[in-house]
């Protein structure tokens, strides 16, 4: 795959990649963007090569997950670098749109808080299955765990998430599909 093809593929998967990077970085936007930059850099300069053995998305997500894990290990250095970036990006966060309900914003904030309470593996599998709409098998491939282990994380994560959501006020009134 040449550089042009790689760029096209990356652009097509950019939105979902950012969502996955957010999930890998405890939903910290600055860290997620930093991880995404590093992952793209690795791919475009050939340090990470796609050999076609799996789907491009599966491979890309695995690169992002490994990059995020690597950045976590070098946490202090990353925080130092992001210190300037956070100041720069503070004023750029978009305010909620005029028509966007306050209730929805509150619900999503509460949902993010609840998600953050789950163990990392459970967060990852639930994100891949519900957010990225993947199968548990595909998720297991990205996470680098066996299918059995992925299923266990999935079931436990779902049960724990439901349990936590029961105690959250905004979800009592929320009905799906509306």
């Amino acid at each position: 795959m040449d550089e042009f093809e790689l760029r096209t593929q990356l652009e097509q998967h950019h939105a979902v990649s950012y969502g996955w990077a957010l999930s890998c970085c405890s939903r910290n936007p600055a860290e997620a963007e930093d991880v995404l930059q590093t992952a793209y850099l690795k791919i475009l300069d050939g340090r990470a090569r796609y050999d076609g053995r799996s789907a491009f998305e599966t491979w890309l997500f695995a690169v992002i997950r490994l990059t995020a894990a690597d950045e976590r290990r070098r946490g202090w250095l990353r925080r130092l670098r992001l210190a300037g970036y956070k100041q720069e990006s503070t004023g750029r966060v978009q305010p909620p749109e005029r028509g966007e309900g306050l209730e929805k914003i509150e619900r999503l904030k509460a949902f993010r808080d609840v998600l953050a309470k789950l163990p990392r593996r459970q967060q990852e599998i639930l994100h891949l299955v519900f957010y990225q709409e993947m199968t548990v098998e595909e998720a297991a491939g990205i996470m680098g765990v066996s299918l059995g282990s992925a299923r266990t994380h999935y079931e436990r994560g779902k049960a724990r998430l439901r349990e936590l959501l029961k105690h959250m006020e905004p979800f009592d009134e929320h009905e799906p599909g509306r």
Binding site: P29, V93, K104, F111
Partner: protein, 135 residues
């Protein structure tokens, strides 16, 4: 999927829509990545320079240390010279009884040792001479 799964799906979908609205554009991420790839080698070069300077200082310290360390053998050579002189002096040393060893090399014939009974031997010799002549 049951109803609970649908509820979770809806929540994740809302989260995805929000992320899509607020996330950085692809061009911005790639541009920043490209800038980082330009800056990071410069930072690496800076670290290399710092490393080289540190290495130079270390080499200088080692050279100074070795220089002083090389001088010490010169002192020890003098000490070794003193030791050699001691050993040489030892070979010239003589014990008080060395004279006895020297005497053992001399012949005893220069001096005549006499005992009180030597005269008897002399007399016996004269008597035997006279008896022989009388016969």
């Amino acid at each position: 999927m049951n109803q609970d799964d649908n509820k979770l799906s809806d929540l994740f979908r809302e989260l995805r829509d929000e992320d899509a609205q607020r996330g950085p554009s692809f061009d911005r991420v790639v541009r920043r990545a490209a800038n980082r790839s330009k800056v990071e080698p410069r930072v690496a070069l800076l670290w290399l320079q710092v490393g080289m300077s540190a290495a130079f200082v270390v080499v200088l310290c080692v050279t100074i240390f070795v220089f002083h360390h090389v001088k010490k053998p010169q002192i020890s050579t003098v000490a070794e010279g003193v030791d050699t002189q001691k050993w040489a002096a030892l070979s010239n040393w003589s014990a008080p009884t060395d004279g006895l060893l020297a005497m053992s090399g001399n012949s005893w014939g220069n001096s005549t040792i006499t005992t009180p009974t030597d005269s008897w031997l002399q007399n016996n010799a004269n008597e035997s001479d006279s008896s022989q002549t009388s016969m």
